[in-house]
């Protein structure tokens, strides 16, 4: 297993290099001008100088190489410096956002907590709800619970967050006035009151996201349970006189979790990707909003870097999903 993991990590390197080239070239080919937002009163030759100052005058391969070294060499050095107080990164130019002129990774570090709080909590809530719901729906297939569950998950599946988000704002903020409609990033949790305020402002975005994620995972869980419930080994377990909860929660669940765990692991990168729409609706200034803002402002280094980070996470969690698969299913041997 360890061998397999190390081999997979090495194999990920060419994959990621290829992805980085694709991302860079795609954005290179995309139309747009980072100076488009600069007022028209600024003369064209000044704008040209500004473009050159951003490094745009250089040929694409050189810019690609610079971006790559900044991300893989300068930023890790800088991180090391800030952790241990060393000066290895002195004299190196960090990756800079064109829009804000501040280092990309500093901005990401500012935005990540909001995304993790909202999207991460939604994901955990969704898993905690979805697994029992899926298990029980399958165990009592076509019961009232299952039918209601199917109906709700269909809604959760098909209603997009830009609709459900606005709907819950109308219901809970406008009509009932229970929760604030805008997520306040400046809120510092220092005591019980501010903690409560933080919870209150998280409820709606978490609700909207969790509905969608719960729908997906509970459907998967239900289908996987149903696949297993009629298999021979379940009859064997019953023939042994094992109690019904043990049959379902030990024998069947363990088998059913194999595909579901993979789905859950593969969904985790999307947490970091942020729920772009939901963050927009509730004004959570997380990673998703950062990406949208950067695309609109033609902030190429920021878009490239964010996209690349998502790619890294997807590759990483693919590997993690495979490893979980191997742990849950003894028939899979990665040797």
């Amino acid at each position: 297993m360890l061998n397999y993991t190390i081999r997979r990590l090495f194999m990920a390197v060419p994959t990621l290099i290829f992805i980085s080239i694709v991302i860079f070239l795609l954005l290179e080919l995309a139309p747009g001008d980072p100076m488009a937002q600069v007022p028209l009163t600024v003369p064209a030759e000044v704008k040209q100088k500004m473009r050159e100052a951003l490094g745009l005058g250089e040929p694409a391969p050189i810019r690609y190489w610079k971006w790559l070294t900044q991300i893989f060499w300068v930023e890790p050095l800088h991180l090391f410096d800030s952790l241990f107080g060393t000066n290895f990164s002195d004299g190196y130019q960090r990756a800079i956002s064109w829009q804000t002129r501040s280092p990309i990774f500093d901005i990401i570090a500012q935005r990540i907590p909001q995304t993790l709080w909202v999207v991460g909590v939604a994901y955990v809530v969704a898993i905690v709800i979805a697994i029992p719901v899926g298990v029980y729906s399958a165990y009592r297939q076509y019961s009232l619970f299952d039918n209601v569950g199917t109906f709700v998950t269909m809604i959760g599946f098909s209603v997009p967050p830009f609709f459900s988000g606005v709907l819950v704002i109308v219901i809970f903020s406008v009509w009932l006035g229970w929760f604030p409609s805008i997520y306040d990033t400046t809120l510092r949790v220092t005591d019980w009151d501010s903690f409560l305020a933080q919870l209150r402002q998280m409820v709606m975005p978490v609700m909207v996201l969790a509905l969608q994620i719960t729908s997906q995972i509970s459907r998967f869980m239900r289908a996987s349970m149903l696949d297993n419930l009629n298999l021979d080994y379940v009859r064997t377990a019953r023939a042994k006189g094992v109690s019904e909860p043990t049959v379902i929660l030990v024998h069947v669940l363990r088998n059913s979790m194999i595909p579901v765990a993979t789905v859950i692991a593969l969904g985790i990168p999307s947490i970091f990707g942020g729920a772009i729409i939901t963050e927009q609706v509730f004004k959570v200034n997380g990673i998703g909003q950062l990406l949208i803002g950067s695309i609109e402002a033609n902030d190429l280094p920021m878009v490239q870097t964010l996209t690349f980070i998502f790619a890294v996470l997807i590759v990483l969690f693919n590997l993690i999903a495979d490893i979980i698969y191997g742990i849950l299913d003894p028939r899979i041997r990665y040797e």
Partner: protein, 334 residues
């Protein structure tokens, strides 16, 4: 074998129905049989004749719904299994009645070790500690002829061959010293040499442990070698029941006779072709009003279309449900 002893399992007039979208399917119709301690009862019939459903009905292994037990009683050691609640049945299953199923490749849980699966009934029914259960599990694997038993407890089912897995299944079924072992086509999914090994193993275990066995199969050859008594099922009912020698030497029911002719013989003249029984076994949408075998029967009489024959004893211990008499070639007169 002990004859005339009090039966350990006494089933009377069992009726099991499946409620399907297309209506009711009468899978088991008035099946009655008994099983004496230490006896091996063979149950023979085609697929869909109700052999497995009969046995599963007794012990609550049929999913209900769609299955429904309409009537009957099944006295096991003084207790009517058909009236017993789930907890009582659960305490009997795996402890006093053991099961071995057809396909050893799928009957074991793939994600748990063989040791875990073998220790489960021991801990549940015998209240053993983990260490005790592990020691007993190793003994059991050894008993069913798995070499290096203690070490193999840590292995997963996919690390065993088909025959070895069936041995594990037998070990699980015998874990708590059951009085009755129900083996549902235990050798059907195995190749012939492994089949012979498993049959030898069961014969041997029966000598050592003395439990009664119900052996369900569609293979008369297997039955001939191991059974004391044979029950032939067709269309959800018992058409003939007799001691094994008598069934082979003097089959009464046309279906039994036809079945015997489908078995290839190594001795004697080589038949041109193996005989087949033309047609399909029935799917009964209603309790049969006529003999269910009539459409495929070469000896059907006019009466067979009017009423379903009851079982009649032609000799003590030999019962048949048929109006046709092979001795006279005409209608049987009781």
């Amino acid at each position: 074998m002990p004859d005339g002893a009090q039966p350990i399992l006494d089933v009377r007039d069992l009726k099991t129905v499946f409620l399907t979208r297309g209506g009711e399917v009468h899978a088991v119709n008035d099946v009655s049989f008994d099983l004496r301690p230490g006896e091996l009862l063979g149950v023979v019939g085609e697929s869909g004749s109700g052999k497995s459903v009969t046995m599963m009905s007794l012990i609550g292994l049929l999913p209900m719904p769609p299955a429904e037990i309409r009537s009957g009683r099944a006295i096991f050691d003084g207790l009517d299994l058909l009236q017993a609640d789930d907890d009582t049945l659960r305490a009997i299953r795996g402890a006093r009645i053991g099961f071995v199923f057809q396909d050893p490749m799928t009957s074991l849980n793939p994600v748990f070790t063989v040791g875990f699966q073998l220790m489960e009934p021991l801990r549940k029914h015998m209240g053993m500690s983990k260490a005790q259960a592990r020691a007993r599990a190793a003994e059991l694997l050894d008993l069913v002829g798995i070499p290096d038993a203690a070490a193999r407890l840590k292995d997963y089912p996919h690390q065993f061959s088909g025959g070895m897995r069936q041995r594990v299944m037998i070990a699980i079924a015998l874990a708590c010293d059951p009085q009755v072992l129900i083996a549902d086509e235990p050798t059907t999914a195995l190749d012939v040499t492994i089949q012979a090994q498993i049959i030898e193993l069961v014969k041997d275990l029966r000598r050592k442990l003395g439990m009664a066995i119900v052996w369900i199969t569609h293979d008369l050859g297997v039955i001939a070698g191991i059974a004391d008594r044979v029950m032939v099922m067709y269309g959800g009912q018992v058409v003939e029941q007799a001691p094994v020698r008598e069934l082979f030497s003097d089959p009464q029911h046309p279906y039994t006779r036809a079945l015997l002719q489908t078995v290839p013989s190594l001795r004697g003249k080589r038949a041109e072709r193996l005989r087949v029984i033309e047609g399909q076994p029935p799917v009964l949408g209603a309790p049969p009003a006529a003999c269910p075998f009539r459409p495929r029967c070469g000896h059907a009489l006019e009466r067979c279309g009017r009423e379903n024959p009851r079982r009649l004893a032609v000799r003590p211990g030999h019962e048949v449900a048929c109006f046709w008499d092979p001795a006279s070639g005409g209608e049987r007169h009781a």
